[in-house]
Subunit: 518 residues, 2 copies
């Protein structure tokens, strides 16, 4: 796409048409400047086929804010909307509405509360709360969902792979299979969720991380086509990178050619005073091969060189590799724990596309509207009970038990103060019969999760760098019970609603059922 | 991401680090200016769980060319690479290499042949052939794959959904669940593959299509929160869009509230001389509901208003809806064929993420290298026989039978002229025992598939607009046997290699096996 076209397609018009057509209805009915409250949340964890996640990692906020600070209806955008014709050839949008978009539509007029990036988050909990003029808050929906859905999706997948890799170094390699430019947001989210580095050069520099990578099969092929061999290719690589030598050993035959040649080159490097870094395996039975490779490297006096594994890795494959190594390595005289500690996981396609669940179903729902100076909770009755969003102006708290582990998230009215209560009622969000009382003495901490991000036209939140976000993620994951972190069939984390929120919602539903027309 | 950061992350550094580290090896060994040939192809059709595609739709070329025309190592990019440090704190890249990148690296120095966008394509067939200096062609790999893999993936999914929708109008709605900015490339590819319009406003304007959309549940909720009802919301919408009135009828209760209210508003519109357009269903049993809705609309005298369906549609869901309508509609006195013809499919998440197969495994392989003025075929022996790419400088032809249907794609040496041969040998690409002779009289046409795109520094190909690409796709899909187009378990299209290519590859493999070191 040309640069001028990108300014159109990635600016304020990066939205769905119905946001604009609705916006015009609000404008014509005089509702566009009414203060509204929208909640952003997701309804269920990503389900990768056989195994559903037990938690998500929140991500995407900073880039959303960057977008909000620059996106606006420029003259060029207005000109395009002016061209839109309806079914009978008349303009789709009135001049008065276009004038409002041009002069009064400003995303800075919105206030935002959000759960910070890197935090562990759960279904139905408002992750972002947007407050401001209805016409503006409505039009933000699509871009907000696009950015937050995707980064949270990928950060979550990355956290799972990190979990299964038991904290071993993890590299993001997915650029070539990513969804176009989404690759960059995906790489950022992968770093937040658990990858230590990415092969993606540009985004690494932008975020302040060194990009990682060595060489491909094509380098070996080049030397073969020149009438030389794998050994010459390795030597050339080692000559250029004597202190950073990671050799891809599976172009010809891993155990009979690649590794013996790599060992030769490593010995030559060592004689010259350099420390070889490692080898990479990109095909075959990675568990079996890594045992054999470790054995050969050990025997040659390189017990500490890394073994980088890649080829369609995901959390299950990594977990299986580790399991197989534990079982099989001793048979070949290789210490499994030592081997596992020298592994590095290069994770590409299945991370950057969130294979198995390539989307997160985040939604953005009107929950309250100010009418005659008073907030009125908005409700959407759905035929699927689980799809009725929690109405009204709300807050969210995380409750920690005496061990310091997160035990539940509580959604309540923004007038409530659970920290002041001796006893908390935690209601199941859907089932009336299910509720539990929690004694205040069993709770070690009640933490509000939402923070003010943007308020009265100003950013009131200092954006943390990725390293800080990573630490937030690590600490939050560490405060989850192991059952919640489990890859397969995890224990379900409690997301509860307060007694007052329950009563308010229940009242609204009842009165609505009595008189749905009003 | 800030604009200055985007210039870094989306320019020439939108690549994997190993392209640069390999590039430096080639540079240091004096290989970087050697002429090389890389093939881009994919190895297998997307497999969406139960049902693998039987063909793909090629897409992405134009945007790749746009990128290639602007991406270059600017001073800012070089400065970042200069900062990269290796394991012992020394610069990762030499000044001499950086100088070459700055002064001599120019993507315009590459030549490109490609199969045009919109064409039906198959595994192992070179879709793009890149020729030029090794160091430059190598570094193109990641960005090329990123762009072509994704658009081809989405165009393919769209073609399948169009197929199952039997040509009914199809709208792309996936922006909010797309992978970040990949949404725009995805929307373009969806249009190429089969969507008629998209809700994505910006990309619609860029590509010259009117964006489509009506209103969301939130519009109804807004009126409810104001103390009014669904009917008032519908009336407001109809007042603003009397000639474009599509009403979302499932916010409260589709059959008991939404449709009766919509009919009231349609009657009011009709009295004023306007033609109501339709209703949209976004939840529930879409097949059953559309029958009931059709019955109600018919009874009210609106037999031609459209019924837009949405909610996690994909090719199987659309096919099931159509099947169920065929079976169930007569029972309610509704003509199924008439109903099917008023349906419009709004397809979101599952199209834009290619749910079930969220990546296409396109690869980019060195196949030939010029040494001392002579092209030397490059080979990569893989332990998986299917993964040995076809070496050398090649051409691709599509053979049509007497009915005009595509019967096979033939990959051969670029010196071959199958049109001049009375008898063609079509060899199975992997199995030596499988080959067939094809009599020239049985072939109605032999069509070369690759066209020159970029040659000697100049674009030699006129880029078609999306509408033309759509026609190409429609014509190509129409020339496939129904068995290939089948959604489930399709017949396998023949991709064959010529006798000469077989012999050349076989000879290379044999001589390589004898002496792998050389």
């Amino acid at each position: 796409m040309k640069a001028t076209d990108r300014a159109i397609a990635e600016g304020i018009l990066f939205t769905d048409q119905y946001q604009l057509t609705m916006g015009q209805v609000y404008f014509r009915m005089g509702l566009h400047e009414k203060e509204a409250l929208f909640d952003h949340f997701f309804r269920s964890y990503p389900n990768y086929g056989m195994h559903q996640a037990g938690y998500c990692i929140n991500a995407g906020l900073e880039w959303l804010l960057d977008w909000m600070e620059t996106a606006a209806f420029r003259e060029a955008d207005i000109a395009l909307l002016r061209q839109q014709k309806n079914h009978v050839g008349k303009p789709m949008f009135d001049e008065a509405f276009l004038k409002w978009l041009k002069n009064d539509f400003n995303l800075q007029r919105l206030s935002l509360q959000a759960i910070p990036e890197g935090r562990v988050v759960h279904p139905n909990v408002p992750l972002t709360i947007v407050r401001g003029p209805l016409g503006i808050a409505q039009i933000l929906e699509t871009a907000l969902l696009n950015q937050l859905n995707f980064q949270t999706l990928i950060a979550t997948k990355a956290a799972r792979i990190r979990e299964s890799g038991n904290g071993q170094l993890m590299l993001e390699f997915g650029l070539r299979r990513a969804h176009g430019l989404g690759a960059n947001a995906g790489a950022r989210a992968a770093l937040i969720g658990g990858a230590d580095f990415t092969s993606n050069v540009g985004i690494s520099h932008v975020l302040g991380y060194p990009p990682k990578g060595t060489h491909a099969h094509s380098m070996i092929q080049t030397f073969l086509a020149m009438g030389e061999g794998e050994l010459e290719a390795f030597r050339a690589y080692a000559e250029v990178y004597p202190d950073d030598c990671v050799l891809l050993v599976d172009t010809i035959d891993t155990l009979n050619s690649g590794v013996p040649n790599a060992i030769k080159v490593f010995e030559e490097l060592q004689k010259k005073g350099h420390k070889p870094i490692g080898v990479r395996l990109d095909s075959g039975d990675l568990a079996y091969l890594s045992i054999q490779v470790a054995k050969m490297l050990n025997a040659a006096g390189f017990p500490d060189t890394s073994i980088v594994l890649s080829n369609n890795l995901d959390e299950l494959v990594v977990w299986q590799i580790a399991t197989q190594i534990q079982e099989e390595a001793p048979r070949y005289g290789v210490d499994p724990d030592h081997l596992l500690q020298r592994l590095i996981y290069g994770v590409g396609t299945r991370l950057i596309t969130s294979n198995g669940a390539p989307s997160l179903g985040g939604v953005y729902k009107l929950v309250s509207l100010k009418n005659n100076g008073k907030w009125v909770p908005a409700i959407k009755i759905s035929e699927t009970p689980g799809k009725t969003p929690n109405p009204g102006n709300k807050k969210v708290w995380r409750l920690y038990d005496k061990r310091g582990n997160a035990t539940a998230d509580l959604i309540g009215l923004d007038t409530e103060k659970p920290a002041d209560m001796d006893q908390l009622t935690l209601r199941h969000p859907l089932q009336a019969a299910k509720s539990r009382q929690m004694d205040g003495t069993k709770i070690s901490r009640i933490e509000p999760l939402l923070v003010d991000i943007f308020k009265d036209g100003k950013r009131v939140y200092d954006l943390p760098d990725i390293e800080t976000i990573r630490q937030v993620r690590q600490a939050d994951v560490g405060r989850l019970d192991p059952g919640i972190r489990r890859l397969m069939n995890p224990h379900i984390y409690h997301v509860s609603i307060s007694q007052k929120l329950w009563e308010m919602r229940d009242g609204l539903v009842r009165s609505f059922r009595k008189n749905p027309a009003k």
